[in-house]
Symmetry: C2
Subunit: 345 residues, 2 copies
């Protein structure tokens, strides 16, 4: 009985399959900004960041305050590129890794905008872009500011050990990225890559319990969302000139490819943000992670490649590990999620 | 220049003023469920809860696991009232007070639904209802499950002191509620109170630094959102048969009334969820707080009063304190936010 009722009331319009939505108006990524810490600023993408800080503290009293400053500055940089002020924005959607998403909440205090706080760990940017696209499509806003941040020192000491301890991390561990990214979502009256469809992920838990093994914990969620997206929309993997996962790193990227290959999906134009942010000599083990990982690579590099028409169709899949130190200490495994936005220009 | 551009692209359709949106389809609160801890179950609203637990642990290994169980059970109770299973739901939107919203994330793992994690502290229920209403209005879903939870023992030990310490709390402190609430948002094909309009709040910070003084920290945000809502929609306070704030308690409720009175707004039909959940002899000082506070009172009592037509128009304003133990320890004040949904039947 429930089925029939559901069939009757589930809208067929914008939904494709169970998890994917097709956009009609197509929210435009009208402007984007990225700021990066010193280690990221010594990496291969340095030229693409709008601001690189000489140290991790920015003369602030704590790493948390430095992270917040980075988030605030990247928001104003993004607005500035369009000559906008916060008054021109209808909603601020943001999330980060710190307990109670304090970077986002305190940044929202500074912006003084209607604020929708989200938590998707490292999937926050794409969760925000997805929500923003739906709110724009629904005519609830004309412009939305979406932002996220992470800071190696604030994250490591919250999730694992303070970096000052110099704890020896296993080879499959990843480097939490220090930086922030912000994007102004606008209407089709503006120029830029458009969000053509979105896929909201389900929580997938491969029962990994090692908080250093983020790549392996998150890869099945990424594979699930990519498979779901392509199936919902009846597309082949090569429909996209680039499929980009959030921050799986070398270990997770390989596992994601293996899982999808077993489902008969071979990713041709595929890379992961986690293997793009640092040089091998920077010793980040399996790669980069953190909310800022996909923010820096996608908003810094891929976004520009799209603007300059080097890329036309991109599937951007951000992954998040949804554990906490409490769940880890209580012996729980690490649930993960991945959300996807398909962009075109 | 920015102004003109903005004027041109800001939608006039659904937005009233800067922060409020008027719903056309009006998402329906098709079913709601509440579960409560033993102390709440000994309170004046006991008869209204769907389930009351005899203890705070539910035979789980930790308070956090008990909170998660409560959230999971209230979700299935709400679905059961409509004879639905998770398959009939398009999105699960949830948030809670625990670091990395673990109650919500682990509950999402169990429900296996497309999950949008949110963080608005005790404003989470209304943030979720607002987002859900907009996603339904935008035809992105047919049914959405919105839920939240809090647990006195998991919250107190995370934010302040483990309850086992028996720390003497000041008279203006509030009792974090143990319980959870879930609501199935459906389309106009279903029966129930409808979300007629929403107002997304801005962060307001009265520079309170005492983490026991939640009422005073959150009252200005509540006043700001109520004032904004009534101004945006050109309504008088008595347009609503009930204006309900989230969890301000006695101290915050009085401050909220004082602030609005100074703006020439006298709240006639006004109460706060924080003063409704316990008897005076239960010694909760200034009242109740926590995500479950407004969930238990609104979904347990007010929702039924609306179904039974004892109330026709209600403005539900949930408040959240957006601090963390880190921001407190670093000497920061407590930013707060309040979101509002106007309901009618």
């Amino acid at each position: 009985m429930a089925e029939t009722v559901t069939e009757k009331i589930r809208p067929v319009g914008k939904r494709a399959g169970n998890q994917s939505m097709i956009m009609e108006k197509k929210a435009v990524l009208a402007a984007a900004a990225t700021v990066a810490g010193p280690k990221e600023g010594s990496g291969p993408l340095a030229e693409h960041y709008d601001r690189i800080y000489p140290d991790n503290l920015l003369k602030e009293g704590s790493f948390e305050k430095a992270e917040r400053r980075m988030l605030e500055e990247t928001c104003f940089l993004a607005l500035g590129k369009l000559g906008l002020s916060p008054d021109d924005i209808d909603f601020f959607i943001a999330g980060d890794l710190l307990n109670q998403i304090i970077s986002s909440s305190f940044c929202a205090r500074k912006l003084a905008l209607p604020f929708l706080g989200i938590y998707g760990a490292c999937s926050s940017l794409v969760e925000g872009l997805s929500l923003g696209a739906m709110l724009l499509e629904g005519n609830f806003a004309g412009r939305i500011l979406v932002a996220t941040s992470s800071h190696n020192c604030s994250s490591e000491r919250q999730y694992r050990y303070p970096t000052e301890y110099g704890f020896q991390r296993p080879g499959y561990s990843q480097q939490t990225v220090t930086g922030a990214g912000a994007v102004v979502l606008g209407s089709s009256l503006e120029e830029g890559p458009r969000i053509e469809s979105i896929t909201i992920g389900k929580v997938v838990d491969p029962e990994i319990k090692d908080p250093y093994n983020m790549g392996m914990a998150m890869a099945p969620a990424a594979a699930d969302t990519i498979y779901r997206h392509l199936t919902d929309l009846g597309r082949d993997a090569d429909y996209y000139q680039l499929i980009l996962t959030g921050d799986l790193g070398e270990v997770g990227k390989q596992l994601n490819e293996d899982i999808l290959a077993r489902k008969g999906l071979n990713l041709l134009n595929y890379t992961d943000c986690g293997i793009q942010l640092y040089y091998p000599h920077q010793k980040v083990h399996a790669g980069a992670s953190g909310c800022a990982c996909c923010a820096l690579f996608f908003l810094g590099k891929v976004y520009k490649d799209m603007l300059e028409k080097r890329l036309g169709r991109v599937l951007f899949v951000a992954t998040g590990a949804l554990h906490s130190t409490t769940t880890y200490q209580q012996g729980e495994s690490i649930p993960a999620i991945a959300h996807a936005v398909a962009l075109e220009i």
